[in-house]
Amino acid sequence: MDSSKKKAIHEDEDNGPWFPMLFSFFSEMTSLTLFTAKYCKNLFIPPYEINELLKQCYFVGYRSLPLVGITGFIMGLVLTIQSRPTLSEFGAESWLPAMVAVSIIREIGPVITALICAGKVGSGIGAELASMRVTEQIDAMEVSGINPFNYIVVTRILATTLMLPVLVVFSDVIALAGSFLAVNINGEVTFTLFFSQVIDSLAFSDVFPSFIKTFFFGFAIGLIGCYKGYNTDKGTEGVGLSANSAVVLSSLLIFVMDMIAVQITDLLF
């Protein structure tokens, strides 16, 4: 924050303690909007860093798979075990696969996977870019004629946007495998029956909205991580702060976007 902004805040301290917070919030919103606009513009401006993009996709997608897979498996298993007693009370135990499938595909799969990625990938991007900024590597890129925004920011945001949906597909499938295992802990359901009940319970209106919103979740994770890292200050202390705020803000944004997505889905289908 430059001295003129500090002065402006100081001058308006009489307006109450909320004013600096409000000023900071709107100032941050403006910066974020400009950052997003710059990303959208640079997305179509060469040079296209394909190799860097693939590298980032590898790190964001492939390297996150074990974590996402384990989380998904536990998610399916736990959800099934926890839901069983309630359904048993109504004598509706046979609805377990259908209920778990709809819950996982519609909501839990995309949101939990996005939160896991916000923790793993968002914080990683925030810390990496912040340390590059602090150690003046980004300035060095500019001097050496490389467009740092295209090389660092565009590739990372694009990688998270494209890889999160793929991770969600894996997470959903693994979660259903966990659910199948949980169903068979206390009962005996063949794979064919379980599979048939899962497919019967799903419709396109369950799959497509949840798949489309994962692109936005991925975009939010990459955007917030890059924004916080790219615009860091306060030296080495800023690296930790950037990583932390990237996770917090992207997680919050995921929930807000999910709420909006649910409203839109409810309106359209």
Binding site: G61, L65, F170, F204
Partner: protein, 231 residues
Amino acid sequence: MKNNNRNKIKLGIFVTIGLALFILGIYLIGDKQKMFNNTVTISGIFKDVSGLQVGNNVRFSGITIGVVENIEIVSDSAVRVDFSIDEQTKKFIKKNAKITIGSDGLMGNKVAIIIPGTAGNKEIQDKDFLITTVPVSMDEILAKLKTTSNNAATITDDLAAMTHSIRSGKGTVGKLFMDTVFADNLDKTLVNIKQGAGGFKNNMDAASDNFLLRGFFKKKKKNREKDKEKK
């Protein structure tokens, strides 16, 4: 460089499997909704669709053969519902088949149920209209249940009054159950009837041995034997 290529291959496999799983899921869901099969559209006019929605299943003999394609109000007392059903199953559905709206279990989704027509009729064709039957709504069931329970209440009230009368010895049945004198008299009457019946039997035996009536009884016996032989 070599490591970089290996990572690209891993990424390629990862993305390919992910996309394949997604496409497979979409195909299976679409296949369930008969989106990739040849279908025929049949329609029905209902007075009340009881919450049937687009996408609900169509069942024939308990098997899902299609989905509800479209629902639209055509007048103040008629709703037109279009059903998309698998073309392969149309040969089993006759022109006089009926369609009704049911429920998938007690709490499940609504389903359209096709009741088979009679043999000898022609099979349905695309754009045909089927006869619809009015589904029994939950409200109707509850209304009937209310009438039944009201009747049951009246009957139990009457029964209570009757048992009260019986217990207090009023009326014939009450006297029969509760009046000990009446019971004694009844018992004596039965004894008298038994004795009277015994005396009557003796009289009849004596009459059959009498020379005036012997011929009549013999004739009757012969007729009985003849009837037996005929049978």
